[in-house]
Symmetry: C2
Subunit: 258 residues, 2 copies
Protein backbone atom coordinates (compact mmCIF):
# COMPACT_ATOMS: atom_id res chain seq x y z
CA UNK A 1 0.00 0.00 0.00
CA UNK A 2 1.55 3.30 -1.07
CA UNK A 3 1.41 6.06 1.47
CA UNK A 4 -1.37 8.33 0.35
CA UNK A 5 -0.35 11.41 2.21
CA UNK A 6 1.74 12.09 5.21
CA UNK A 7 1.19 13.27 8.74
CA UNK A 8 -2.48 14.07 8.27
CA UNK A 9 -3.47 10.66 7.01
CA UNK A 10 -4.25 7.95 9.50
CA UNK A 11 -3.45 4.65 7.88
CA UNK A 12 -5.07 2.53 10.54
CA UNK A 13 -8.40 4.26 9.98
CA UNK A 14 -8.13 3.87 6.23
CA UNK A 15 -7.51 0.17 6.67
CA UNK A 16 -10.51 -0.13 8.91
CA UNK A 17 -12.68 1.45 6.25
CA UNK A 18 -11.24 -0.97 3.76
CA UNK A 19 -12.63 -3.77 5.85
CA UNK A 20 -16.05 -2.19 5.81
CA UNK A 21 -15.90 -1.83 2.06
CA UNK A 22 -15.11 -5.50 1.70
CA UNK A 23 -18.80 -6.18 2.25
CA UNK A 24 -21.10 -5.83 -0.73
CA UNK A 25 -24.01 -7.53 -2.46
CA UNK A 26 -22.05 -10.67 -3.18
CA UNK A 27 -20.00 -10.69 0.01
CA UNK A 28 -22.54 -10.46 2.76
CA UNK A 29 -20.70 -12.21 5.53
CA UNK A 30 -17.00 -12.71 5.69
CA UNK A 31 -14.69 -14.78 7.83
CA UNK A 32 -11.39 -13.49 9.09
CA UNK A 33 -9.51 -15.11 6.24
CA UNK A 34 -12.05 -13.88 3.70
CA UNK A 35 -11.29 -10.39 4.91
CA UNK A 36 -7.58 -11.03 4.59
CA UNK A 37 -8.09 -12.10 1.00
CA UNK A 38 -10.42 -9.30 0.03
CA UNK A 39 -8.46 -6.49 1.60
CA UNK A 40 -4.95 -7.71 0.93
CA UNK A 41 -4.04 -6.78 4.48
CA UNK A 42 -2.02 -8.81 6.88
CA UNK A 43 -3.79 -11.42 8.94
CA UNK A 44 -2.80 -9.78 12.20
CA UNK A 45 -3.97 -6.39 11.03
CA UNK A 46 -7.33 -7.75 9.96
CA UNK A 47 -7.64 -9.51 13.26
CA UNK A 48 -7.17 -6.33 15.22
CA UNK A 49 -9.20 -4.10 12.95
CA UNK A 50 -12.11 -6.50 12.70
CA UNK A 51 -12.11 -6.96 16.43
CA UNK A 52 -12.18 -3.21 16.91
CA UNK A 53 -15.07 -2.82 14.50
CA UNK A 54 -16.88 -5.56 16.34
CA UNK A 55 -16.33 -4.04 19.76
CA UNK A 56 -17.45 -0.69 18.42
CA UNK A 57 -20.65 -2.19 17.10
CA UNK A 58 -19.94 -1.79 13.42
CA UNK A 59 -19.70 -5.50 12.72
CA UNK A 60 -21.79 -8.32 14.09
CA UNK A 61 -19.98 -11.58 14.72
CA UNK A 62 -21.72 -14.90 14.54
CA UNK A 63 -20.64 -16.63 17.73
CA UNK A 64 -20.61 -20.05 16.12
CA UNK A 65 -19.31 -19.50 12.58
CA UNK A 66 -17.09 -16.56 13.68
CA UNK A 67 -18.07 -14.72 10.54
CA UNK A 68 -18.54 -10.98 10.44
CA UNK A 69 -21.60 -9.20 9.11
CA UNK A 70 -22.67 -5.58 8.73
CA UNK A 71 -24.51 -4.47 11.84
CA UNK A 72 -27.56 -2.29 12.24
CA UNK A 73 -25.17 0.61 12.61
CA UNK A 74 -24.86 0.55 8.85
CA UNK A 75 -28.50 1.51 8.60
CA UNK A 76 -28.09 4.25 11.14
CA UNK A 77 -25.44 5.76 8.94
CA UNK A 78 -27.99 5.94 6.17
CA UNK A 79 -30.43 7.53 8.59
CA UNK A 80 -27.90 10.22 9.41
CA UNK A 81 -27.28 10.71 5.72
CA UNK A 82 -30.95 11.28 5.02
CA UNK A 83 -31.04 14.13 7.48
CA UNK A 84 -27.88 15.65 6.12
CA UNK A 85 -29.02 15.80 2.52
CA UNK A 86 -31.40 18.74 2.23
CA UNK A 87 -33.00 17.32 -0.89
CA UNK A 88 -34.55 14.38 0.90
CA UNK A 89 -36.89 16.25 3.19
CA UNK A 90 -38.11 18.41 0.32
CA UNK A 91 -38.57 15.47 -2.00
CA UNK A 92 -40.06 12.81 0.20
CA UNK A 93 -43.68 14.01 0.46
CA UNK A 94 -43.84 14.76 -3.25
CA UNK A 95 -42.39 11.41 -4.18
CA UNK A 96 -44.93 9.64 -2.03
CA UNK A 97 -47.71 11.58 -3.67
CA UNK A 98 -46.39 10.78 -7.12
CA UNK A 99 -45.99 7.09 -6.46
CA UNK A 100 -49.54 6.90 -5.16
CA UNK A 101 -50.92 8.80 -8.15
CA UNK A 102 -49.12 6.67 -10.67
CA UNK A 103 -49.22 3.42 -8.77
CA UNK A 104 -45.70 2.87 -10.03
CA UNK A 105 -42.26 2.70 -8.51
CA UNK A 106 -40.68 6.09 -7.97
CA UNK A 107 -37.05 6.78 -7.12
CA UNK A 108 -34.90 9.73 -6.20
CA UNK A 109 -31.43 9.65 -7.73
CA UNK A 110 -28.37 11.80 -7.24
CA UNK A 111 -25.12 12.04 -9.08
CA UNK A 112 -22.03 10.79 -7.27
CA UNK A 113 -18.98 11.13 -9.45
CA UNK A 114 -19.67 9.19 -12.62
CA UNK A 115 -22.34 7.07 -11.00
CA UNK A 116 -25.81 7.75 -9.82
CA UNK A 117 -27.04 6.68 -6.42
CA UNK A 118 -30.64 5.82 -5.73
CA UNK A 119 -31.20 7.72 -2.56
CA UNK A 120 -34.85 6.96 -1.94
CA UNK A 121 -36.97 4.24 -3.44
CA UNK A 122 -40.70 3.78 -3.29
CA UNK A 123 -41.42 0.43 -4.88
CA UNK A 124 -45.05 -0.17 -5.80
CA UNK A 125 -44.67 -3.36 -7.80
CA UNK A 126 -42.69 -6.51 -7.42
CA UNK A 127 -39.41 -6.24 -9.19
CA UNK A 128 -35.80 -7.30 -9.02
CA UNK A 129 -34.64 -7.16 -5.42
CA UNK A 130 -31.77 -4.77 -6.08
CA UNK A 131 -34.22 -2.32 -7.62
CA UNK A 132 -35.98 -1.91 -4.30
CA UNK A 133 -32.91 -0.96 -2.29
CA UNK A 134 -31.65 2.54 -1.63
CA UNK A 135 -27.93 3.09 -1.87
CA UNK A 136 -27.55 1.29 -5.16
CA UNK A 137 -24.99 2.78 -7.55
CA UNK A 138 -25.17 2.54 -11.31
CA UNK A 139 -23.07 4.04 -14.09
CA UNK A 140 -24.56 7.47 -14.68
CA UNK A 141 -24.61 7.44 -18.45
CA UNK A 142 -26.39 4.10 -18.54
CA UNK A 143 -29.42 5.39 -16.70
CA UNK A 144 -32.22 7.76 -17.55
CA UNK A 145 -31.67 9.61 -14.29
CA UNK A 146 -27.95 10.04 -14.86
CA UNK A 147 -28.50 11.30 -18.36
CA UNK A 148 -31.07 13.96 -17.47
CA UNK A 149 -28.86 15.19 -14.69
CA UNK A 150 -25.85 15.42 -16.99
CA UNK A 151 -27.99 17.07 -19.65
CA UNK A 152 -28.39 20.11 -17.40
CA UNK A 153 -24.64 20.58 -17.05
CA UNK A 154 -23.92 21.82 -20.54
CA UNK A 155 -22.43 20.11 -23.55
CA UNK A 156 -18.77 20.10 -22.48
CA UNK A 157 -19.45 18.30 -19.29
CA UNK A 158 -21.84 15.75 -20.68
CA UNK A 159 -19.56 15.06 -23.61
CA UNK A 160 -16.78 14.16 -21.29
CA UNK A 161 -19.03 12.01 -19.17
CA UNK A 162 -20.35 10.17 -22.22
CA UNK A 163 -16.84 9.50 -23.47
CA UNK A 164 -15.07 8.55 -20.28
CA UNK A 165 -17.77 7.39 -17.89
CA UNK A 166 -17.97 3.77 -16.85
CA UNK A 167 -20.21 1.38 -18.73
CA UNK A 168 -21.21 -2.11 -17.77
CA UNK A 169 -23.51 -4.44 -19.59
CA UNK A 170 -26.44 -5.46 -17.37
CA UNK A 171 -28.74 -6.90 -20.04
CA UNK A 172 -28.17 -8.02 -23.61
CA UNK A 173 -29.66 -4.71 -24.65
CA UNK A 174 -27.58 -2.42 -22.53
CA UNK A 175 -26.43 0.41 -24.73
CA UNK A 176 -22.67 0.45 -25.03
CA UNK A 177 -22.07 2.87 -27.89
CA UNK A 178 -20.89 6.16 -26.45
CA UNK A 179 -22.04 8.20 -29.43
CA UNK A 180 -25.57 6.85 -29.04
CA UNK A 181 -25.48 7.71 -25.37
CA UNK A 182 -24.31 11.21 -26.08
CA UNK A 183 -27.20 11.66 -28.48
CA UNK A 184 -29.62 10.57 -25.78
CA UNK A 185 -28.21 13.11 -23.37
CA UNK A 186 -28.55 15.82 -25.98
CA UNK A 187 -32.13 14.77 -26.53
CA UNK A 188 -32.75 14.91 -22.80
CA UNK A 189 -31.35 18.42 -22.69
CA UNK A 190 -33.91 19.50 -25.25
CA UNK A 191 -36.90 17.69 -23.83
CA UNK A 192 -36.27 18.01 -20.12
CA UNK A 193 -36.68 14.32 -19.48
CA UNK A 194 -35.11 11.04 -20.50
CA UNK A 195 -36.35 7.53 -21.12
CA UNK A 196 -34.44 4.29 -21.18
CA UNK A 197 -35.50 0.74 -22.01
CA UNK A 198 -34.10 -2.63 -21.11
CA UNK A 199 -30.94 -1.07 -19.75
CA UNK A 200 -30.77 -2.54 -16.28
CA UNK A 201 -33.66 -5.02 -16.38
CA UNK A 202 -35.33 -6.40 -19.46
CA UNK A 203 -38.82 -5.06 -20.12
CA UNK A 204 -38.25 -2.26 -17.70
CA UNK A 205 -38.63 1.32 -18.81
CA UNK A 206 -37.21 4.18 -16.80
CA UNK A 207 -38.35 7.77 -17.12
CA UNK A 208 -36.52 10.57 -15.35
CA UNK A 209 -36.83 14.31 -14.90
CA UNK A 210 -34.21 16.62 -13.40
CA UNK A 211 -34.48 18.50 -10.12
CA UNK A 212 -32.77 21.77 -10.81
CA UNK A 213 -30.86 23.87 -8.33
CA UNK A 214 -30.88 27.66 -8.30
CA UNK A 215 -28.23 27.77 -11.00
CA UNK A 216 -30.15 25.49 -13.34
CA UNK A 217 -27.85 22.55 -12.80
CA UNK A 218 -29.60 19.43 -11.64
CA UNK A 219 -29.06 18.34 -8.05
CA UNK A 220 -30.90 15.10 -8.58
CA UNK A 221 -33.60 13.41 -10.58
CA UNK A 222 -37.01 11.94 -10.04
CA UNK A 223 -37.20 8.62 -11.77
CA UNK A 224 -40.01 6.23 -12.45
CA UNK A 225 -39.62 2.55 -13.29
CA UNK A 226 -42.41 0.94 -15.24
CA UNK A 227 -43.10 -2.21 -17.19
CA UNK A 228 -42.93 -2.23 -20.96
CA UNK A 229 -45.92 -4.55 -20.91
CA UNK A 230 -48.30 -2.03 -19.50
CA UNK A 231 -47.02 1.24 -20.92
CA UNK A 232 -46.26 2.39 -24.43
CA UNK A 233 -44.56 5.45 -25.76
CA UNK A 234 -47.73 7.50 -25.99
CA UNK A 235 -49.12 6.72 -22.59
CA UNK A 236 -45.75 7.51 -21.07
CA UNK A 237 -45.56 10.86 -22.80
CA UNK A 238 -49.06 11.89 -21.84
CA UNK A 239 -49.53 10.34 -18.43
CA UNK A 240 -46.12 9.94 -16.85
CA UNK A 241 -43.83 12.64 -18.11
CA UNK A 242 -45.99 15.62 -17.11
CA UNK A 243 -46.52 14.39 -13.57
CA UNK A 244 -42.88 13.47 -13.25
CA UNK A 245 -41.74 16.90 -14.35
CA UNK A 246 -44.22 18.65 -12.12
CA UNK A 247 -42.97 16.67 -9.18
CA UNK A 248 -39.35 17.35 -10.01
CA UNK A 249 -40.03 21.05 -10.43
CA UNK A 250 -41.91 21.26 -7.18
CA UNK A 251 -38.86 19.91 -5.42
CA UNK A 252 -36.50 22.39 -7.05
CA UNK A 253 -35.56 25.32 -4.81
CA UNK A 254 -35.85 27.88 -7.60
CA UNK A 255 -38.34 27.92 -10.45
CA UNK A 256 -36.43 28.05 -13.75
CA UNK A 257 -37.69 27.85 -17.32
CA UNK A 258 -40.29 25.35 -16.26
Amino acid sequence: MEKKQNTLFVGALAKGLKLLRAFDESHTDLSLSDLVQRTGLDKSAVQRLANTLHVEGMLDKDPVTRRFRPSHAWLQMAYAYYWSDPLIARAMPRLIELSQHLGETVNLAELSGDHIVYVTRLPCKRTQFAATLPGRRLPAISTAAGRVILSTFGRDEWEQAARTGPLISMTPRTMLDRADIEALIEKAAGEGYSVSRDQMILNEIAVAAPIRGMDGRAVGAVQCSISAHTWDEDSIATQIVPLLQDTANSISPGAFRS
Copy 2:
Protein backbone atom coordinates in the same frame (compact mmCIF):
# COMPACT_ATOMS: atom_id res chain seq x y z
CA MET B 1 -10.55 7.80 27.05
CA GLU B 2 -9.94 4.59 28.96
CA LYS B 3 -8.20 1.89 27.02
CA LYS B 4 -10.92 -0.53 26.06
CA GLN B 5 -8.78 -3.53 25.43
CA ASN B 6 -5.18 -4.07 24.63
CA THR B 7 -3.17 -5.27 21.67
CA LEU B 8 -6.15 -6.24 19.55
CA PHE B 9 -7.91 -2.93 19.76
CA VAL B 10 -6.99 -0.21 17.29
CA GLY B 11 -7.64 3.11 18.97
CA ALA B 12 -7.20 5.18 15.85
CA LEU B 13 -9.97 3.27 14.11
CA ALA B 14 -12.28 3.60 17.09
CA LYS B 15 -11.71 7.34 17.11
CA GLY B 16 -12.49 7.53 13.43
CA LEU B 17 -15.78 5.77 14.01
CA LYS B 18 -16.48 8.21 16.79
CA LEU B 19 -16.26 10.99 14.24
CA LEU B 20 -18.78 9.23 12.02
CA ARG B 21 -21.15 8.80 14.93
CA ALA B 22 -20.99 12.49 15.65
CA PHE B 23 -23.40 12.99 12.77
CA ASP B 24 -27.08 12.48 13.46
CA GLU B 25 -30.48 13.99 12.77
CA SER B 26 -29.67 17.21 14.55
CA HIS B 27 -26.03 17.40 13.54
CA THR B 28 -26.07 17.11 9.81
CA ASP B 29 -22.93 19.00 8.94
CA LEU B 30 -20.09 19.67 11.28
CA SER B 31 -17.06 21.90 11.19
CA LEU B 32 -13.70 20.82 12.48
CA SER B 33 -14.28 22.47 15.81
CA ASP B 34 -17.79 21.06 16.04
CA LEU B 35 -16.25 17.65 15.71
CA VAL B 36 -13.74 18.46 18.41
CA GLN B 37 -16.56 19.44 20.73
CA ARG B 38 -18.81 16.50 19.95
CA THR B 39 -16.14 13.82 20.14
CA GLY B 40 -14.03 15.22 22.94
CA LEU B 41 -10.94 14.38 20.93
CA ASP B 42 -7.91 16.52 20.44
CA LYS B 43 -8.00 19.11 17.69
CA SER B 44 -5.03 17.60 15.90
CA ALA B 45 -6.49 14.14 16.07
CA VAL B 46 -9.79 15.30 14.63
CA GLN B 47 -7.95 17.12 11.92
CA ARG B 48 -6.11 14.01 10.83
CA LEU B 49 -9.00 11.63 11.21
CA ALA B 50 -11.47 13.87 9.41
CA ASN B 51 -9.01 14.40 6.62
CA THR B 52 -8.54 10.66 6.30
CA LEU B 53 -12.27 10.07 6.19
CA HIS B 54 -12.55 12.76 3.54
CA VAL B 55 -9.78 11.34 1.39
CA GLU B 56 -11.33 7.90 1.72
CA GLY B 57 -14.66 9.23 0.54
CA MET B 58 -16.57 8.79 3.77
CA LEU B 59 -17.05 12.49 4.38
CA ASP B 60 -17.83 15.23 1.91
CA LYS B 61 -16.24 18.57 2.59
CA ASP B 62 -17.81 21.79 1.50
CA PRO B 63 -14.97 23.63 -0.20
CA VAL B 64 -16.20 27.04 0.97
CA THR B 65 -17.55 26.47 4.47
CA ARG B 66 -15.04 23.65 5.18
CA ARG B 67 -17.75 21.73 6.91
CA PHE B 68 -17.99 17.97 6.74
CA ARG B 69 -21.06 16.02 5.75
CA PRO B 70 -21.92 12.35 5.37
CA SER B 71 -21.16 11.19 1.85
CA HIS B 72 -23.04 8.88 -0.45
CA ALA B 73 -20.86 6.12 0.93
CA TRP B 74 -23.15 6.12 3.94
CA LEU B 75 -25.96 4.96 1.71
CA GLN B 76 -23.81 2.30 0.15
CA MET B 77 -23.24 0.88 3.57
CA ALA B 78 -26.98 0.52 3.95
CA TYR B 79 -27.09 -1.14 0.55
CA ALA B 80 -24.52 -3.69 1.68
CA TYR B 81 -26.50 -4.21 4.85
CA TYR B 82 -29.66 -4.98 2.93
CA TRP B 83 -27.94 -7.78 1.10
CA SER B 84 -26.41 -9.18 4.26
CA ASP B 85 -29.66 -9.43 6.17
CA PRO B 86 -31.46 -12.51 4.86
CA LEU B 87 -34.81 -11.24 6.09
CA ILE B 88 -34.92 -8.35 3.66
CA ALA B 89 -35.03 -10.30 0.43
CA ARG B 90 -37.73 -12.57 1.80
CA ALA B 91 -39.78 -9.72 3.15
CA MET B 92 -39.56 -7.09 0.46
CA PRO B 93 -41.99 -8.48 -2.13
CA ARG B 94 -44.56 -9.31 0.53
CA LEU B 95 -44.28 -5.91 2.13
CA ILE B 96 -44.82 -4.23 -1.21
CA GLU B 97 -47.87 -6.35 -1.80
CA LEU B 98 -49.24 -5.55 1.62
CA SER B 99 -48.71 -1.83 1.32
CA GLN B 100 -50.49 -1.80 -2.02
CA HIS B 101 -53.40 -3.83 -0.67
CA LEU B 102 -53.87 -1.64 2.36
CA GLY B 103 -52.85 1.63 0.82
CA GLU B 104 -51.10 2.32 4.10
CA THR B 105 -47.54 2.71 5.27
CA VAL B 106 -45.82 -0.59 5.99
CA ASN B 107 -42.53 -1.06 7.80
CA LEU B 108 -40.16 -3.87 8.61
CA ALA B 109 -38.62 -3.63 12.06
CA GLU B 110 -35.90 -5.61 13.79
CA LEU B 111 -34.70 -5.72 17.34
CA SER B 112 -31.28 -4.27 18.03
CA GLY B 113 -30.45 -4.49 21.70
CA ASP B 114 -33.17 -2.65 23.55
CA HIS B 115 -34.19 -0.63 20.51
CA ILE B 116 -35.95 -1.48 17.33
CA VAL B 117 -34.65 -0.42 13.96
CA TYR B 118 -36.90 0.26 11.03
CA VAL B 119 -35.10 -1.60 8.33
CA THR B 120 -37.42 -1.01 5.41
CA ARG B 121 -40.16 1.55 5.06
CA LEU B 122 -42.84 1.82 2.45
CA PRO B 123 -44.62 5.10 3.07
CA CYS B 124 -47.96 5.49 1.32
CA LYS B 125 -49.19 8.65 2.99
CA ARG B 126 -47.64 11.90 3.96
CA THR B 127 -46.36 11.78 7.47
CA GLN B 128 -43.61 13.01 9.74
CA PHE B 129 -40.34 13.02 7.85
CA ALA B 130 -38.55 10.77 10.31
CA ALA B 131 -41.27 8.17 9.88
CA THR B 132 -40.31 7.73 6.23
CA LEU B 133 -36.64 6.99 6.81
CA PRO B 134 -35.09 3.57 7.22
CA GLY B 135 -32.45 3.22 9.91
CA ARG B 136 -34.47 4.97 12.58
CA ARG B 137 -34.07 3.58 16.09
CA LEU B 138 -36.74 3.73 18.76
CA PRO B 139 -36.96 2.28 22.27
CA ALA B 140 -38.28 -1.23 21.77
CA ILE B 141 -40.83 -1.29 24.54
CA SER B 142 -42.39 1.96 23.34
CA THR B 143 -43.34 0.55 19.98
CA ALA B 144 -45.85 -2.00 18.81
CA ALA B 145 -43.17 -3.73 16.78
CA GLY B 146 -40.77 -3.97 19.69
CA ARG B 147 -43.45 -5.33 21.95
CA VAL B 148 -44.61 -8.10 19.63
CA ILE B 149 -41.06 -9.16 19.08
CA LEU B 150 -40.34 -9.28 22.80
CA SER B 151 -43.62 -11.09 23.39
CA THR B 152 -42.25 -14.09 21.50
CA PHE B 153 -39.21 -14.36 23.76
CA GLY B 154 -40.96 -15.63 26.87
CA ARG B 155 -41.95 -13.91 30.06
CA ASP B 156 -38.52 -13.68 31.71
CA GLU B 157 -36.97 -11.85 28.85
CA TRP B 158 -39.82 -9.45 28.22
CA GLU B 159 -40.13 -8.71 31.91
CA GLN B 160 -36.56 -7.61 32.04
CA ALA B 161 -36.93 -5.55 28.90
CA ALA B 162 -40.04 -3.84 30.24
CA ARG B 163 -38.30 -3.01 33.50
CA THR B 164 -34.92 -1.91 32.30
CA GLY B 165 -35.39 -0.86 28.69
CA PRO B 166 -35.02 2.78 27.71
CA LEU B 167 -38.08 5.00 27.56
CA ILE B 168 -38.37 8.46 26.12
CA SER B 169 -41.42 10.62 25.88
CA MET B 170 -42.15 11.53 22.26
CA THR B 171 -45.71 12.79 22.65
CA PRO B 172 -47.74 13.85 25.68
CA ARG B 173 -49.38 10.46 25.51
CA THR B 174 -46.28 8.33 25.37
CA MET B 175 -46.75 5.52 27.83
CA LEU B 176 -44.16 5.66 30.58
CA ASP B 177 -45.52 3.23 33.14
CA ARG B 178 -43.49 0.05 32.94
CA ALA B 179 -46.20 -2.11 34.43
CA ASP B 180 -48.65 -0.96 31.76
CA ILE B 181 -46.09 -1.73 29.11
CA GLU B 182 -45.49 -5.17 30.49
CA ALA B 183 -49.22 -5.82 30.37
CA LEU B 184 -49.27 -4.81 26.72
CA ILE B 185 -46.49 -7.23 25.92
CA GLU B 186 -48.33 -10.00 27.69
CA LYS B 187 -51.42 -9.15 25.68
CA ALA B 188 -49.37 -9.23 22.49
CA ALA B 189 -48.08 -12.67 23.44
CA GLY B 190 -51.63 -13.94 23.64
CA GLU B 191 -52.99 -12.26 20.56
CA GLY B 192 -50.03 -12.47 18.22
CA TYR B 193 -50.10 -8.80 17.39
CA SER B 194 -49.79 -5.47 19.12
CA VAL B 195 -51.33 -2.04 18.68
CA SER B 196 -50.12 1.30 19.93
CA ARG B 197 -51.66 4.77 19.77
CA ASP B 198 -50.19 8.23 19.96
CA GLN B 199 -46.86 6.86 21.08
CA MET B 200 -44.50 8.40 18.59
CA ILE B 201 -46.83 10.72 16.68
CA LEU B 202 -50.20 11.95 17.82
CA ASN B 203 -53.16 10.40 16.02
CA GLU B 204 -50.96 7.69 14.66
CA ILE B 205 -51.80 4.08 15.30
CA ALA B 206 -49.24 1.35 14.82
CA VAL B 207 -50.11 -2.31 14.39
CA ALA B 208 -47.43 -4.96 14.34
CA ALA B 209 -47.15 -8.72 13.89
CA PRO B 210 -44.09 -10.85 14.56
CA ILE B 211 -42.00 -12.68 11.99
CA ARG B 212 -41.01 -15.88 13.73
CA GLY B 213 -37.84 -17.83 13.19
CA MET B 214 -37.64 -21.60 13.22
CA ASP B 215 -37.47 -21.62 17.00
CA GLY B 216 -40.57 -19.48 17.41
CA ARG B 217 -38.66 -16.42 18.51
CA ALA B 218 -39.34 -13.37 16.39
CA VAL B 219 -36.60 -12.20 14.07
CA GLY B 220 -38.49 -9.06 13.17
CA ALA B 221 -41.92 -7.55 12.81
CA VAL B 222 -44.18 -6.26 10.09
CA GLN B 223 -45.65 -3.00 11.20
CA CYS B 224 -48.31 -0.77 9.76
CA SER B 225 -48.79 2.90 10.56
CA ILE B 226 -52.26 4.33 10.12
CA SER B 227 -54.24 7.39 11.04
CA ALA B 228 -56.63 7.34 13.97
CA HIS B 229 -58.93 9.51 11.87
CA THR B 230 -59.62 6.87 9.27
CA TRP B 231 -59.43 3.67 11.25
CA ASP B 232 -61.16 2.48 14.40
CA GLU B 233 -60.64 -0.52 16.60
CA ASP B 234 -63.02 -2.75 14.68
CA SER B 235 -61.80 -1.96 11.22
CA ILE B 236 -58.25 -2.52 12.36
CA ALA B 237 -59.09 -5.89 13.84
CA THR B 238 -61.00 -7.08 10.81
CA GLN B 239 -59.13 -5.50 7.93
CA ILE B 240 -55.58 -4.88 9.04
CA VAL B 241 -54.59 -7.50 11.56
CA PRO B 242 -55.36 -10.56 9.43
CA LEU B 243 -53.46 -9.27 6.42
CA LEU B 244 -50.60 -8.16 8.61
CA GLN B 245 -50.29 -11.54 10.25
CA ASP B 246 -50.55 -13.38 6.97
CA THR B 247 -47.78 -11.29 5.58
CA ALA B 248 -45.60 -11.79 8.63
CA ASN B 249 -46.18 -15.52 8.57
CA SER B 250 -45.41 -15.76 4.89
CA ILE B 251 -42.03 -14.22 5.60
CA SER B 252 -41.23 -16.61 8.44
CA PRO B 253 -38.89 -19.42 7.46
CA GLY B 254 -40.84 -22.08 9.35
CA ALA B 255 -44.60 -22.33 9.76
CA PHE B 256 -45.39 -22.47 13.48
CA ARG B 257 -48.72 -22.53 15.24
CA SER B 258 -49.98 -20.02 12.72
